[in-house]
Symmetry: C2
Subunit: 78 residues, 2 copies
Amino acid sequence: MKSKAIFYHAGCPVCIDAEQGLALSLDANKFNLEIVHLAENTSRINEAENAGVKSVPALILDSTVFHINFGASISDLK
Amino acid sequence: MKSKAIFYHAGCPVCIDAEQGLALSLDANKFNLEIVHLAENTSRINEAENAGVKSVPALILDSTVFHINFGASISDLK
């Protein structure tokens, strides 16, 4: 069974680099990847914060949060 | 042909989480992954710095540096 991966971003250049370079490089046999644009889906900001996301881009793998470089603080997306 | 991936770390808990959770989740069909422990291989610190690594853990994919969370500044490893 595949694990769940969620990539949260805000459309910023740092986010796009992380999406194209890193998130899309995950083993697709291991993960079902969901990509969430928080600036366009502000209703999911609380979900991201509750999962431990402090800034974007961030990647959640099996409930572990990995903050990748720094694009924007999640508090600036509200 | 596979791309080169280098994961630089220093053995810290944040580093190990990133190695196990993220670096080892890359698509092995796309990348040849090398894992470098900079605290044990200080001779490679300059190489990492020249590649743009500011802190560990960091993952380089196709010459792009992704700093993942924050374990230690590379300047503290010297």
